[in-house]
């Protein structure tokens, strides 16, 4: 059990190594939350610039826009506009699954880039961009539109991508969306989400739809902020459909331009990743009067709670539907819990992830009898931490934008039974002998959403926590007395 005193002294110990200025700043990002006490959530400073040189794991605005929000829209082409690297490093790495003929009518795992050369930086890239958009349309005629994802140089050399986009959009008769997500903007991926949301608003929702309208229904909803990692949106959608709702759009995992365009007619927006898509949800609320509701499809407790919460916004038909769905999956989720809980009971977990996961997965761990003793966001804001502390049931260490050094120190001292974080952390902690699951990519497994996903989640946590490899770290002769 982590005590408040222990956690606080740990924070002081970690901070002591920093140079004064950086230490002072970092102190504001570290806190201890104890239930019943004054909320620690509001005490954590978030969404600030990372300290230079500390090895933040954060990415950039381009990653938030191209990598997260825009990239999964499968029938549009997302151009990495600038030098070759960004598009290459972010190619097909996020596992946002889609169905389609890649290179023909779907483009999600490809890398389209303007591959800036020195002359483009010196003389500007607008001419190249204009030519390139035409080339895209010639070679990939079934694209439904193009987004221009700006890399750092674009915003520094004074290119007017908006003008090029406007001109080419008129010429090609397709939406062409200029996105100013240069990597130096803002402090993390987070601003990229916001910029991407705003460009969907300005260049898709506010324009005349290019796809034919469909009849609206009273049970129409949209899934917002599910990137279909490992198929998450599909294992969520199935439950919503089973309870009688009609899912008109997925934002943006396995999403299409048509789905984006038709969302302005839905009755309710269901928001999974609040961090990356609250902006567009608020916009649709103001502009179209569509309410939005946060939900959580990790683990049976939160799923049932969420299904009922969603149903409460509809009539008895849907409410009965929700109960039917919960009842249908009850036996399965009980059986899974019964099988895995004894193997995982009391195990302590530390999380360090992005988006919604530092809080949303807590319930699923608790369903399995596990305790979250530390959690933090790579690029969260204050409202994320407020939402998080509500869900914490015991003393928990909170770390915002943790550096590699801080994480290593915290883990070394707390020695959790399992860590859920990203690939940059994975191999480090595995070498330390601590079971680790990637909680961005589901470690090449998934889905984790919904009841089908809970089964996989439970299986995966068990296979990693109870794998024999963690007991192999020390050679037997080191334990012998002779």
């Amino acid at each position: 059990m982590l005590t408040r005193e222990k956690a606080e002294s740990l924070i002081q110990e970690v901070l002591s190594v920093y140079p004064a200025e950086a230490g002072k700043e970092r102190a504001e990002h570290l806190a201890v939350s104890s239930p019943g006490e004054e909320s620690a959530g509001s005490c954590v400073t978030a969404n600030r610039k990372s300290q230079p040189g500390v090895m933040t794991v954060r990415g950039c605005a381009y990653a938030g826009s191209k990598g997260v929000v825009w990239g999964p829209i499968k029938d549009m082409i997302h151009l990495s506009h600038g030098p070759v690297g960004c598009g290459q490093y972010s190619r097909a790495g996020r596992r946002n699954y889609y169905i389609g003929h890649t290179g023909i009518n779907a483009f999600g795992t490809m890398n389209f880039t303007s591959d800036f050369q020195e002359k483009d930086v010196v003389f500007g890239g607008d001419k190249k961009l204009a030519k390139l958009l035409g080339e895209i349309n010639t070679l990939f005629p079934l694209n439904r539109g193009i987004s221009i994802q700006s890399e750092c140089p674009v915003g520094l050399i004074g290119d007017d991508i908006e003008a090029v986009a406007k001109e080419q959009s008129a010429l090609l008769q397709k939406p062409i969306v200029p996105v100013r997500c240069e990597g130096f903007r803002g402090v993390s991926q987070s601003l990229g989400h916001h910029i991407a949301n705003d460009t969907i608003r300005d260049y898709i929702l506010d324009r005349e739809a290019s796809s034919p309208a469909i009849d609206c229904g009273k049970y129409d909803v949209a899934i917002i902020g599910d990137y279909n990692i490992g198929g998450d949106a599909w294992s969520s959608r199935i439950l919503l459909e089973e309870m009688g709702l009609r899912v008109v759009a997925q934002w943006s995992g396995d999403g299409t331009l048509a789905e984006l365009e038709r969302t302005s007619k839905v009755k309710l927006n269901l928001v999974h990743c609040y961090r990356s898509m609250n902006y567009i949800s608020r916009h649709m609320e103001v502009k179209y009067g569509i309410p939005w509701l946060e939900y959580n499809f990790f683990g049976p407790s939160k799923i049932a709670e969420s299904l009922r919460k969603i149903a409460s916004r509809f009539d008895a038909t849907i409410q009965e539907g929700a109960e039917r769905v919960i009842a249908k999956y009850q036996d399965l989720s009980d059986a899974i819990t019964a099988k895995y809980r004894p193997r995982l009971q009391g195990k302590r977990v530390m999380l360090y992830v992005g988006g919604l996961r530092p809080r949303h997965v807590i319930g699923a761990y608790e369903d399995l009898g596990m305790e979250v003793v530390g959690t933090g966001y790579e690029f969260g804001h204050g409202d994320d931490y407020e939402r998080t502390v509500e869900d914490l049931k015991q003393t928990t260490l909170i770390y915002d934008d943790a550096s590699a050094y801080e994480l290593e120190q915290f883990v070394e001292k707390i020695r959790p039974d399992l860590i859920g974080s990203g690939i940059k952390e994975k191999y480090l902690f595995q070498k330390m002998g601590i079971p680790f699951r990637q909680m961005h990519s589901w470690d090449y497994s998934g889905p984790y959403h919904g009841y089908d996903g809970y089964a996989i989640f439970a299986r995966d946590m068990d296979m990693t926590l109870n794998n024999p490899c963690w007991k192999m770290m020390k050679p037997p002769w080191q334990n012998s007395t002779c």
């Binding site: 040189g53 090895m55 790495g93 915003g155 130096f184 490992g230 959608r237 330390m432």
Partner: protein, 523 residues
């Protein structure tokens, strides 16, 4: 309900279940405004035609599925090869997150590297403040003995001066004056990851030796320096060192990350392990010579070695395959006066024995290759030795000079007649080439898997299976631990090639009642 307690299934085969198939079908039909299957099919087949190829090759501005990365990635790998060295990238922080992730996925290892997180204000005022704080913080937290600074395109576009900034940081007392801080400007809009590796090496050599040449004398330490370049097969560092040890040749590898990228799981994390020491770098000008094992990507380092160190930089080909390894060893023998020992003759003989054993499966097989220029040339050379026939040889980050070198190589062999050389082309170009003329196999990195799928989609008889050799390899485990250089590397390559051929033949002949012939137990 698709899950059962008996068997919990992940995405595949979960989404094969009937209820998910119907969900996906309904989504497509009702909500996606999808093109009709006929439209998709027609467009796909059009994309495999010569007409499409002509359009594809007339592209002037668009790059699709490149086969190269950017400079600072290379700089980071180079920096990792020095003892207790922390790679430091000056500029936007997202780049560093990407570099680390890219290497994590390939090596399945942690990769330490910091950024100084420049944002809008730094874009306006320059990144000096970031560099000051960054160097101070990085040194305090990670206790390196060297920080190797490279730059992102953001810092390059605004014109940050690394030399001046670093010196100012020292004058300000952020880090001690004597603390080693080699640096290299690595603009991502020039060259590729190979250029960045070259620039960083030159930066390191320059930093430690430029003003220390007075007492240096080539040959005086009796050692040989070897530079592997942007090399991601850890076994290659090991095999070069082993061969030199067996010859009794003392050596210094200039950048040697094989330890730090292969640390054990024993309960302890090592941020630093192995690597070329500062003492070795300082003494390196005293070596007999410096051999560059990548002849197409180390121009800047070569110039420095020749002009500043007065090294001959005896030209050697990357030792892929038999003859290039022979020549490498003979060059070493000639430079050092040490004979090639019986142990290496034995190893060579074993390789020749393997070639003889497998030649009948390799002779006349057609392979297309994509990757970095030295890799493509080295593999081509080896294939020609095996009697295999290279078909498309594509290197995105190669030059016209490389293409000329390739022409010479191919024209000297009876097996090189059909080969086509492509530089500055990407993997979407390669797609058209594979549809135009089908090789038996494609050799390249993981990105090639989409090409295999594309060709398969046209029909089984068009499928070009991918053999994974190169960088990055994200979808197979641990291949990077092998060697591809030297006799040992050739054995690995040969084993891989022949067994991929045999596995493919098994797959093609395993239809019962139809291809019962040639489904042989013994091959």
């Amino acid at each position: 309900m698709s899950q059962t307690m008996e068997q919990i299934i992940p995405c595949y085969p979960l989404f094969q279940e009937a209820e998910y198939r119907s969900l996906l079908r309904n989504k497509a039909e009702q909500f996606e405004n999808r093109y009709s299957p006929e439209d998709v099919d027609t467009t796909f087949h059009w994309s495999t035609t010569p007409e499409y190829k002509a359009l594809n090759f007339s592209r002037e501005a668009l790059t699709v599925n490149p086969a190269k990365a950017c400079q600072p990635l290379g700089a980071v790998l180079c920096a990792l090869g020095f003892q207790k060295t922390l790679p430091y990238v000056h500029g936007s922080q997202g780049c560093t997150a990407y570099f680390r992730t890219y290497f994590n996925r390939h090596f399945k290892e942690p990769v330490a590297c910091v950024s100084d997180s420049m944002t809008e204000d730094a874009a306006v005022f320059g990144g000096q403040k970031n560099l000051f704080a960054g160097l101070e913080n990085a040194k305090a937290l990670y206790d390196p003995e060297m920080i190797a600074v490279s730059s992102t395109c953001m810092a390059e576009v605004i014109g940050d001066d690394l030399n001046a900034f670093i010196n100012n940081a020292k004058k300000e007392g952020r880090i001690p004056e004597e603390f080693p801080t080699p640096f290299a400007h690595t603009p991502s809009f020039i060259g590729s990851h190979l250029t960045g590796w070259d620039n960083m090496l030159e930066g390191v050599l320059r930093y430690f030796t430029l003003n220390e040449m007075a007492d240096k004398e080539p040959g005086s330490n009796g050692k040989l320096n070897v530079v592997l370049g942007f090399e991601t097969y850890l076994g290659n560092y090991r095999v070069i060192k082993r061969m030199l040890r067996e010859m009794g040749v003392a050596y210094t590898l200039l950048s040697d990350p094989e330890m730090v990228l292969d640390t054990p799981a024993d309960g302890k994390y090592r941020m630093y392990a192995g690597g070329t020491t500062q003492a070795e770098i300082k003494d390196a000008p005293n070596a007999i010579d410096t051999l560059l094992l990548q002849s197409w990507s180390l121009d800047k380092s070569k110039k420095y070695l020749k002009e500043s160190w007065n090294h001959a930089v005896t030209p050697v080909d990357a030792p892929y395959g038999l003859a290039a390894t022979d020549r490498f060893l003979m060059a070493v023998a000639q430079l050092t006066g040490k004979p090639i020992p019986p142990s290496l003759e034995l190893e060579r003989g074993r390789l020749v024995d393997m070639i003889a054993d497998s030649h009948s499966w390799l002779h006349g097989r057609r392979f297309s290759i994509f990757g970095d220029p030295d890799f493509v040339m080295g593999m081509t050379r080896f294939l020609l030795e095996l009697g295999a026939e290279p078909l498309h040889l594509l290197s995105h980050n190669a030059t016209k000079r490389w293409a000329k070198g390739m022409e010479q190589l191919l024209s000297a062999s009876p097996f090189g007649k059909e080969a086509e050389i492509h530089f500055g082309r990407d993997l979407w170009h390669l797609r058209s080439l594979l549809f135009e003329k089908k090789p038996d196999f494609l050799i390249g990195n993981s990105y090639g898997k989409e090409l295999q799928r594309d060709t398969l989609h046209k029909g089984k008889e068009y499928e070009v299976p991918l053999i994974r050799i190169g960088f990055p390899i994200f979808d197979r485990h641990h291949l990077h631990r092998n060697a591809t250089l030297g006799y040992e590397g050739a054995m690995y390559l040969l084993t891989t090639l022949v067994n991929e051929i045999l596995a493919r033949l098994d797959q093609e002949t395993s239809i019962m009642g139809e291809t019962d012939y040639n489904f042989d137990l013994i091959r």
